[in-house]
Amino acid sequence: MSGRRLGVYVCRCGGNISDYVDVEQVAAEARQDPDVVVARTAMFTCSDATQQEIVKDIEEHRLDGLVVASCSPKLHKFTFREVAKRAGLNPYQYTQVNIREQCSWAHTNDKAGATCKAGCLTRAGIGRTRFAAPLEALVVQTEPSALVIGGGIAGLRAALGLADLGLSVFLVEKESSLGGWVGRFEAMYPHGKKGKALIAQLVGEIRARSAITVFTNTEVVGKSGSTGNYMATLEVRGNAPATIQVKVGAIIVATGFASYTPEIGEFGYGLEGVVTLPEFKELVEGTSGPLCYLGRPLRTIVYVYCVGSRQGAGAARGSPDCSRYCCAAAVHASLAVAALGGKVHQYHLYSDMRTYGRYEALYGESRDKGSLFPKFAGDSQPVVARDDSSGGLIVTVTDLLTAGQEVVIPADLVVLVTGMVPRPTEALVNALKLPTGTDGFFHEIHPKLRPVETVVDGVYICGACQGPKNSSESVASGLAAVAQSAAILKKGYAELDPQVARVDPDVCIWCGKCLEACPYRAVELAPGMYVTQGDERPGVLELSHTTRAGETPALPEACAAVEAPAPHAASREVAWIDPAMCKGCGACVPMCPTEAVDLLGYTGTQVKAMIDGLLEDRGA
């Protein structure tokens, strides 16, 4: 008994938990702990009503620790920190225990076992909370500027959006000109607006903004610092190569997609008259009269859909997923062909026509204009071959819509409706530590809760680098990334998690083990021995936008500003961990031979108490 006053809340999650875990028993066990003053169950602990109940309990029972046994901390850690704050309890004197993902969902066949495990985990949470000390959030001032990587339509629009909100922007494009894919397109679905014109409009606006600095022929090669205060290293190639460092508060990645390139022989690719969708669009857009290919008028065009898309999980090439934009794009192209005049037969070989939402209207219009749509089964794909007798192409398909007959179509041109695949961006991934999903696209934290955020704080993703999107969807996500960045940068400061590692200089012997262990380069030698890294690289041009005059951001109360290490009295060399860089991963802690490093929020005492809680024999 430590004299603490703890409250424990065990969640039913509507049944998600209570169907497999006896939550009443978990609460009853918690009540046996002498420090636990209140232990309750709730239908939805996250619901507003229960939150209010917790606030009331904290105030009435003067609780100095809170344990919530419900779901993953990824979901509700911040929810209950806010609850604690509202009740005047330090938010770091709260522990989230995950009895849903780790108990009820993992042990659906073993209610007794799941209940026992939930009890153990809850006791561990109580143990940790028993020794929880109040912590104050770390506050860093943020740069009112952002780096946008990628000069396609999403990146351009995002740059403008940021500038509209009074933020400075560095826009980096790898190629020599801005515009990306859309900059090459003429008419785009659904309205037929010309991609080139849209890009020209955006570029014109960007040129007119002094707040936006554009770098073309430039790649991002490095990044240091942390959210709100990144230093990005840019490499400018071409005639005047240079390395430039920019100070930015946030980074928006909008590097777009690559169009799938079929292998030679894949649906006849490589044969004369077999083209990909982007190639075909170029052909159509460059034609004013009836469509010709290599000087020959085209009478029959066959489209083969889903080339490189929907290849199934773990496919060697192409994308496991639907590329989303190509059905509507191909249908739209066929309408452009029809509009050019001439008698052209168009056959669309598809497995599912995915003209979702209002794009369905294009599909209907294409049928009305004479396009035919034979459907093939997923396991019976069309075959494209050269007809040796005529020299033309023939496409053979088993059409489900004509009772499974084999249909042979002589074709003048075969269009492979190719999808989107991730762009090779290994260098960028390394520079930014960006996570990618199994599909190779950049990965967001949560598609609904945090759709443009990545696990790297302050680094956001938008557009088709995240997954297939059409132009307007890319723009929408670009603007969503703007909103997300601005939500942090407009405040002028960012709050960082104070659960970071700290060195006790009296105990540290500076062996360098922690430095080796740290994946975030957060460990440095204490002042006096400190050598600035930047000086090692002469000739680097540093750009930054200082905080606008008269706009000193007001820091919230009860926050600790990040400070440089205080000069240490000892003349010994000791380690210092930059709290703004430390992610609290704890990798350094077990490496320290003198136990000089402790992780706030997970101190040695707390971890031992958790282990005790897990091992405690309840005599059940």
């Binding site: 929810t79 999980a313 939402g357 369905e360 949560h446 997300q484």
Partner: protein, 969 residues
């Protein structure tokens, strides 16, 4: 500027918009029309493609929204209009609907919900189960505050001149709460048993069920309630009556309490006495007759209203300490004042009977109906054995007299009516019953003269050709050539009555018909301390009208004695008593301000005030000095709207009135009571027109005292810098595809209903088919119901249905491992990151996907369903398959018409009814009106991730717009 941004709609798009703007530091006003934020997402089970629990990821957003320091949330509120002001600002008018529950006080304990006696379809559970009229939308509602749904005043209640909560006691009987029903009626009047028998029940005439198979037997339910109570409480006493304030009332009036004298103990006087005694006044009733009850006791015959019942009702009043002094006519009102009464209520009724001005009218044997009935009711010897009786009159009193005469042994009873049968003022059923008892009816005859030597021997009649003139005024015309003579021994005149107020003049001015002049709203006469209620002021009416007058008089007297502020804090019963009879007057009388009325606060206070301080009146609580704010009565619900709420109704036979065929000389009550089963059945036919029945059970149980049925709505004006509309979509009404049988086949449900069946907060705790509760083994999905379908006017794809169906397929296979799931589709549109893998996963789990449309569905006797479909994968043959349960994957449609928000501007919609994005390519989420943005499915079908990104786009542009306006300003 009040707020930087107005966000309309708190679904996922609206919440995301508000949160992001709030994080940026903008002040946001978020308006949601439902009682909770959360939109449609919170209704879902899990969400694709990550299978997150929708509740788990919605609730943090909901909580964060409502607690965000920069976001002000108005739930249960609607935007009336938004107008552009100067400098690109907007002026928004918002109407906050009354919840009838004080949000600040409500703790979300659900006591009101559990006590509520009205059940309506639960929209949270897609109408598969019921919820109460008092409810919290769903377990995770934010804010978790109860709402009482009120569509208006139920027609029965609205049309009761006494303001009795007819719907309320009907719903209480339906719940088996007979005593509570009795208590509810007591709120209005102590005359429960009398009204249950003798009331002419205007409530039943107004009953919406009347347009189906007949009105609910509301009056007989009241009698049932009274009989049940009196059976259980043989000694009517204060203890049997739950009093509003037992400290004050249980002990009778406190020493020094103000005293009120009431002249007359009829329905008006008794009701006023009851109400005043409950307010703590010392009340004395002076009654001229030997028994209290007025017409109830003296005129309505025993076979309709037994004396014993009247006595039980009167005992309710005397149990409160009200003194009834009988055999004491009052002629000197000033004298009463001198005796120390602070106020006087005259409620003497209309006891002066009209005579006939024809020859022989003064002959012995010619008597008035009032005198006749009074003698009978008071038990005086009236022997009509062998006598020939003629009753003159066509009204209910005439019928009462005729039937009484029949019971007293008259050899023959003839009824002579000036009116034709169809014109008779008596209720048709009364006439029918009279005829059945052998009474001979002579219509369209008028008395010409009475003949007889020492007593009447015959009556000569002349033909009446018209009773009314062109203006419907009483002006009879006769054909003197047509004569009829009836031999008779007794003639009873039942041709009308009037107030006998001669003794009150000249103190009180009267009207030409003898009624007292009084303010129609306050019932105050020319003498400030004298009020007049009931028939003495209005002329002859119904019992319930007199009851209503008594209630109002009591309230007015209370207001006059204590100041109008006393009314405002007198509780719902007092408020109700002011608005009684709204249907009759057409509007709630406004209580005039103190200066404009002689119901004068200052006058009342001047007697008790010293040094400018109003001391607490003795025996009454201290009344805060409030401005009187009695609520308006809610308008009556339109019966047609009530019937339109539901697509079809079971016909439930209405129970006919059962009448005891008594022997001619038996005075016993003839109408049989409802049995308990019949009462329950009758009450069960109620359609709950107003939704809330005003049964007041919530008021009884609410521990926080948070219920306020008089809560007014609030009109809010706000100046905002920009607007984001996020009002979402509606689901396709599946019954518009009749070939799929939704609404007719119980086991055909919608995708939303399946989502509810699968949700953690599901109604049945498992997947059951609604028809018979069987666990389904074969489940079919019909995709594109209402989408990609020109026949229903929606050629578009709805985007979400393929994916939500795939999600449900997986959840069903998890919940019911033995179930077969088959999906009939056109194209599976798994369009999005990870979506195709999700589709493949469902296939791998065993879901069966068949390409081809479903032509129609037929139902078997056992509730199973036959799908007639095209099987494209197998040569396009037409096939049939039998399923236990069919899920229609309904698509989306535009939600409300957002143009209504902008009466001065032309908000552009696209050809399908969604709000048009002015520049979708570069500025998605921007509408055509500068400063107006749209987020989510208001611009077209979107799934949750797309809606959230779209909201982000709207937010970035709204913020940019604000910055631009700020710079310009």
């Amino acid at each position: 500027m009040d707020y930087d941004v107005l966000v309309v709609g708190a679904g996922i798009g609206g919440m995301e918009s508000a949160l992001k703007l709030g994080d940026m530091g903008y002040k946001v006003l978020l308006v949601e029309k439902e009682a909770s934020v959360g939109g449609k997402m919170i209704l879902l089970s899990k969400v694709f493609p990550t299978l997150d629990c929708a509740s788990c990821i919605s609730t943090p957003k909901m909580g964060a929204t409502i607690h965000h320091p920069n976001v002000t949330v108005l739930t249960y509120s609607e935007v009336a209009h938004i107008r552009q002001g100067v400098d690109g600002h907007f002026q928004a008018a918002i109407r906050q609907k009354p919840r009838y529950v004080d949000e600040a006080r409500c703790t979300g304990c659900r006591q009101c919900e559990m006590a509520c006696t009205v059940a309506v379809p639960d929209q949270f559970n897609a109408d598969m189960v019921s919820r109460r009229a008092a409810y919290i939308a769903f377990p995770q509602a934010v804010p978790k505050k109860a709402v009482i749904e009120r569509a208006g005043t139920s027609p029965c209640t609205f049309n009761c001149p006494a303001g009795i909560k007819a719907h309320g006691y009907v719903s209480l009987v339906r719940s088996g709460q007979h005593e509570e029903a009795f208590q509810l009626i007591l709120e209005a009047t102590p005359l429960v048993g009398s009204l249950g028998r003798a009331c002419y029940a205007p409530c039943e005439s107004a009953c919406t069920r009347g347009s189906l198979e007949g009105p609910v037997a509301i009056r007989r339910l009241k009698r049932f309630v009274a009989d049940t109570h009196y059976r259980g409480h043989s000694e009517p006493a204060a203890a049997a009556i739950r009093l509003q304030d037992p400290d004050v009332v249980g002990a009778g009036p406190a020493d020094g309490a103000k005293r009120v004298a009431i002249v007359g103990s009829g329905p008006a006087g008794l009701t006023a006495a009851w109400q005043l005694a409950r307010l703590g006044y010392g009340v004395t009733i002076f009654e001229a007759a030997p028994e209290p009850g007025g017409m109830l006791r003296l005129a309505i015959p025993e076979h309709r209203l037994p004396n014993a019942v009247v006595e039980q009702d009167v005992a309710n009043v005397t149990a409160l300490g009200v003194e009834i002094v009988t055999n004491t006519p009052v002629t000197n009102l000033d004298g009463l004042k001198a005796q120390g009464y602070d106020a006087i209520l005259v409620a003497t009724g209309t006891h002066r009977a009209f005579g006939l001005d024809v020859p022989g009218a003064g002959l012995p044997g010619v008597i008035t109906a009032l005198a006749f009935l009074r003698s009978v009711k008071l038990g005086e010897m009236v022997d009509l054995h062998g006598k020939r009786v003629v009753v003159i009159g066509g009204g209910n009193v005439a019928i009462d007299a005729a039937r009484s005469a029949r019971r007293l042994g008259a050899a023959a009873v003839h009824l002579v009516s000036l009116e034709a049968r169809s014109e008779m003022p008596a209720h048709a059923w009364e006439v029918t019953e009279a005829l059945a008892e052998g009474i001979v009816l002579h219509n369209s005859w008028g008395a010409r003269q009475f003949r007889g030597d020492t007593a009447v021997q015959s009556l000569e009649l002349q033909r009446c050709t018209a009773v009314f003139d062109a203006e419907r005024k009483f002006s009879p015309l006769y054909d003197e050539s047509a004569r009829l003579e009836l031999a008779c021994d007794t003639v009873i005149l039942a041709i009308g009555m009037s107030a006998d107020t001669a003794s009150f003049t000249p103190t009180l001015p009267t009207n030409r018909n003898g009624t007292l002049q009084a303010d129609p709203a306050t019932l105050q006469t020319a003498v400030p301390y004298i009020f007049a209620a009931g028939d003495v002021g209005t002329g002859p009416t119904m019992i319930t009208s007199a009851v209503g007058q008594g209630r109002r008089a009591a309230t007015a007297i209370h207001g006059w004695l204590q100041g109008p502020a006393a009314l405002a804090c007198g509780g719902p019963s007092l408020a109700d008593s002011w608005i009684v009879g709204a249907a009759e007057t057409g509007a709630t009388p406004a209580l005039p301000d103190a200066a404009a009325t002689r119901l004068d606060v200052r006058a009342a206070h001047s007697e008790t005030t010293s040094a400018g301080v109003t001391p607490a009146p003795p025996g009454l609580p201290v009344l805060p000095d409030l401005v009187c704010a009695l609520p308006d009565v809610m308008p009556a619900v339109n019966g047609a709207d009530v019937l339109a709420r539901q697509r079809c109704y079971d016909t439930r036979v209405s129970l006919p009135v059962k009448v005891l065929r008594s022997a001619p000389d038996d005075m016993a009550e003839i109408e049989l009571p409802l049995s308990e089963d019949e009462a329950w059945y009758s009450a069960g036919r109620c359609l709950d027109c107003g939704v809330c029945s005003e049964c007041h059970q919530c008021l009884e149980v609410c521990p926080a005292d948070a219920i306020d049925l008089g809560m007014p709505g609030r009109e809010i004006e706000a100046q905002v810098g920009a607007v984001i509309l996020a009002t979402g979509f509606t689901l396709f009404p599946a019954d518009l595809k009749p070939q799929y049988g939704y609404g007719r086949y119980k086991n055909v449900i919608t995708g939303m209903q399946m989502d509810r069946l699968l949700a953690p907060t599901r109604p049945y705790n498992t997947v059951l088919r609604p028809g018979d509760g069987k666990v389904p083994e074969r489940i079919a999905y019909v995709m594109c119901t209402g989408s990609r379908d020109k026949t229903v006017g929606n050629p578009l794809c709805s985007k979400i249905c393929c994916m939500y169906s795939i999600k449900q397929n997986q959840l069903i296979m998890g919940a019911l491992p033995l179930a077969d799931v088959t999906v009939h589709y056109i194209d599976m549109r798994a369009v999005g990151k990870g979506y195709d893998e999700f589709y493949e996963q469902a296939r791998d789990m065993g879901a069966n996907y068949i390409k081809g449309r479903v032509a129609r569905i037929t139902e078997k006797d056992d509730g199973n369903l036959i799908l007639h479909y095209e099987d494209i994968d197998h040569g396009g043959s037409v096939a049939e398959a039998e399923y236990d349960l069919v899920v229609l994957a309904v698509g989306v449609q535009p939600g409300l018409d957002a143009r209504q928000f902008f009466p001065d501007d032309n908000l552009l919609l696209d050809e399908y009814g969604y709000v048009e994005e002015a520049d979708e390519d570069l500025n998605p989420g921007r509408a055509n009106i500068p400063g107006v943005f749209i987020a989510g499915a208001i611009s077209g079908a979107k799934d949750i991730p797309d809606s959230i990104l779209h909201a982000g786009a709207a937010v970035a542009q709204a913020a940019a717009y604000l910055e631009k306006v700020r710079v310009r300003a």
